[in-house]
């Protein structure tokens, strides 16, 4: 039988509908899911999350950090991006997790971690342990602060360890700077 031109799997809609009404537009109800950025487990616990969860997620982020932190061959290159005195050489690490045989290199200090709202909303450490073994679990991401003050996390892209900006909280000073020209026309699709 010849290969068919139609997709093998019938298309699905996870939201069930493309009628994006208030719910989708505002992110499901009064409490939109947001992530929280913490510097330490103590700061995390102070926000109301179970301290044990905060510590476990800190360890998870730290382990991710050692595995996938942005890597630099030299101290100067690392400091150029993350600031003076803000990088360490992996050969100095007692924990050799970061040293996967690729030789020694420099990585930035982890300055915090990003906890997802799903974890932040768990009622107890027992619930957290259940959640951790579920497929929807994603560990908290390590956070770095660049020399320019930008908050980034690590990511692996095409085999390279790179830094990725994260959506940080800020303060909006102005809106409606886009969308004006086409309002007069009504719609734009083509």
């Amino acid at each position: 039988m010849r290969k068919r031109k139609i997709g093998a799997r019938p298309p699905l809609l996870t939201l069930g509908t493309i009628a994006a009404t208030g719910m989708v537009l505002t992110g499901c109800g009064e409490d939109p899911p947001t992530e929280a950025l913490f510097s330490t487990p103590t700061e995390c616990a102070a926000s109301g999350v179970d301290l044990q969860i905060c510590e476990a997620e800190y360890q998870a982020a730290l382990s991710e950090h050692l595995k996938n932190a942005p890597r630099f061959d030299g101290q100067a290159a690392c400091e150029a991006e993350y600031g003076e005195g803000r990088c360490l050489e992996t050969s100095n690490l007692v924990n050799q997790q970061a040293n996967d045989g690729a030789g020694s290199f420099f990585i930035p200090f982890m300055t915090g971690y990003l906890i997802s709202s799903a974890i932040g909303n768990l009622a107890s450490y027992a619930a957290y342990r259940n959640y951790r073994s579920s497929p929807s679990y994603t560990y908290s991401a390590p956070i770095y602060r660049t020399r320019g003050g930008q908050t980034v996390t690590s990511a692996v892209q095409g085999g390279q360890r790179v830094s990725r900006p994260v959506n940080v909280n800020t303060r909006t000073v102005s809106r409606s700077g886009f969308g004006g020209r086409s309002s007069s026309r009504g719609f734009f699709g083509s």
Binding site: K5, L13, L15, A141, P165, T172, F187, G189
Partner: protein, 385 residues
């Protein structure tokens, strides 16, 4: 290639409403036709439509490369001078693009001809990818179409694959002009595909995009926008007040700024200049090129027209059809007039979908005029034989 009639599915309106496809009727006219179809042979689809579309996309990328090297060319395409560097950098950095739709003229004979490339804000993707798929499987199931009836439609799975290639670290924002049912539906559909590719998403209106005191774009929760799909034309964004933040913004937009080159009708004369005589191209010139006057049967289009606005059909040197609209101040191109598939006074245009760099599907639209406008109708297709 033929146009056939078939009994409509009795419950298709309920099915449309159930998935939020509310714009199956627009301006009080039916937009989706359930009782008609275009039928193609596999050879027509593969040899006349799919392969040429894939080749056309590659040719467009070659032209884009020429354009980014030549500031005069950018100016010719009415890309504002302060924004040219942004467009150039986005191309040089190979910023990832998502999708586009070629409009082709084809009537079953001879090569398909490129009419234009909707490479920046194409709509009708939901109809093509989702609703058309179900139309085919329903009709096979109820015995109206043969069991081996096929369709050129791997659009949704190709979209999901394409979305997987974007980082899923930041939130994937989706910005659209949400007052338009069609635009909002299109953005919501693509957002659904992104969710299926593992992204966290958020839909917002173009006008809700904000900036913070560092010139970073922000959403309604005052979070920075790092990755943003926008169903909004670059030629407008580049001219609006927030354009001033674009050159320093870290936000990765989808489509990327370099799509301003491909979605521009000025692409057509540039393609003809570089690939003159290519079987899938029509002769085309900028309106101020003396050679434009040699085209006695032609179509004049503004560089930035959407929805078939401000198009003029010229036959034997006379203007025979004109559509009104608000476009044209940035200039015009002239393209040789070509034959469209016609039946009972209705004209059909083929829309081939390019997702990433893959041609993965087809959607047909039909209009009573040769200028396909926003009153055109979407007609499903099948491959039989």
């Amino acid at each position: 290639m033929q146009r056939i009639s078939l009994p409509e599915r009795e419950d298709w309106r309920e099915k449309a409403e159930a998935v939020g496809f509310g714009f199956h009727e627009m301006y009080g006219e039916p937009y989706w036709l359930d009782d008609a179809a275009f039928v193609f042979t596999l050879a027509e689809i593969e040899e006349a439509i799919e392969d040429p579309s894939a080749e056309l996309h590659q040719m467009c990328m070659d032209v884009a490369e020429d354009v980014i090297r030549d500031p005069a060319m950018m100016t010719k395409l009415a890309i504002p001078e302060p924004m040219q560097d942004l467009v150039r950098r986005s191309f040089e950095d190979q910023e990832r693009h998502l999708y586009g739709r070629f409009d082709l003229a084809y009537d079953g004979t001879g090569p398909a001809k490129l009419l234009e490339y909707n490479a920046d804000t194409p709509t009708s993707i939901f109809e093509s990818a989702y609703f058309q798929y179900n139309w085919l499987t329903d009709n096979v199931e109820r015995g109206v179409l043969p069991e081996d009836a096929d369709q050129f439609n791997a659009i949704q799975e190709t979209l999901i694959e394409a979305f997987r290639k974007f980082s899923n670290e930041p939130i994937f924002h989706f910005a659209a002009y949400t007052e338009s049912d069609e635009d909002r539906g299109t953005a919501a559909y693509l957002m659904d595909c992104a969710i299926q590719a593992g992204h966290r998403t958020e839909l917002l209106d173009m006008r809700e995009i904000g900036v913070d005191d560092q010139g970073r774009y922000t959403d309604m929760q005052d979070r920075t926008i790092e990755l943003c799909f926008k169903l909004y034309p670059w030629e407008d964004m580049l001219r609006e007040p927030f354009a001033e933040h674009l050159p320093h913004s870290r936000t990765q937009f989808v489509e990327p700024p370099w799509k301003a080159i491909l979605s521009n009708k000025g692409l057509l004369p540039l393609l003809w200049e570089r690939f003159s005589g290519h079987p899938n191209l029509l002769p085309a010139y900028f309106a101020d090129d003396p050679r434009a006057g040699n085209l006695k049967n032609a179509v004049r289009k503004p560089l930035h027209s959407r929805e078939g606005e401000n198009i003029t059909v010229i036959e034997a040197g006379l203007e025979t059809e004109v559509s009104d609209g608000n476009y044209g101040e940035e200039g015009f191109i002239v393209q040789e007039l070509t034959r469209l598939f016609e039946k009972d006074g209705k004209y059909a245009v083929l829309g081939t979908w390019i997702v990433g760099n893959t041609c993965c599907g087809l959607g047909m639209r039909e209009d009573r005029s040769r200028i396909t406008r926003n009153l055109s109708r979407f007609i499903p297709h099948a491959i039989i034989g």
